[in-house]
Symmetry: C2
Subunit: 104 residues, 2 copies
DNA sequence: ACGACACATAAGCATGTGCTTATGTATCGT
DNA sequence: ACGATACATAAGCACATGCTTATGTGTCGT
């Protein structure tokens, strides 16, 4: 789970779509395939990349594997972004408020 | 300047180093090469990618080109991160405060 | 026990990415 | 005007990445 892993993982459009789907709630690998025209192994490989990056975590339930957003990845991106806080413009202030308010 | 451009740009370790250097202040292409063992064309190509992503902007000064962090890219990442605010853990609250406080 | 199912892994292939050397373009100093 | 300097662009190459098909592993229902 390094910065390299995280940015590389998010560089792929399919993986960003998967991540966004998971933001709406936990889903298993098959459910994640719906809509995305992709093979089962391809999805499995993408999920592996997302998991190695710390963006997603899994929970086995019988023969299903439920995936969900892993806050660790989110935190890592936030921490990276914080290093460039000197360049946050004024309009980001509202965003910072929003982020804080929603964290409950 | 799309999410794809941004994450792809940051997926490369050399480009992240360049970006971090620029966070310390404006620098020209030659100065950015110091320390990084990389050819002049390679740096030029990296800067082109960073600029296309909206992470960096340039300012010609004679035969020098000064590069600096472009807040647009920062904002774009912040906006992307905001979409997953539901998964910001408690410890991110402090970060949101920090980001807000520093934005002055 | 056995077939069906959910997912992971292996191997091979097409395309993308980052590097190099060579060269082009524009500006500076003298 | 001329060479030196700063940077960009072009072309070619090695390696990484994402996909596919084929197969492996473990779990469920009957």
């Amino acid at each position: 789970m390094t910065e390299a892993d995280i940015f590389k993982a998010l560089a792929d459009p399919t993986r960003r779509k998967v991540f966004e789907k998971l933001a709406g709630g936990s889903l298993n690998a098959s459910a994640l395939r719906d809509g995305l025209e992709i093979s089962q192994p391809a999805m499995s490989q993408h999920l592996s990349v997302l998991r190695a990056a710390g963006l997603v975590r899994e929970q086995r339930q019988g023969r299903f594997v439920n995936y969900e957003v892993d806050p660790d990845g989110i935190v890592a991106i936030g921490a990276w972004l914080a290093r460039y806080r000197a360049y946050w413009p004024k309009r980001m202030e509202a965003l910072a408020d929003l982020l804080k308010d929603m964290d409950q």
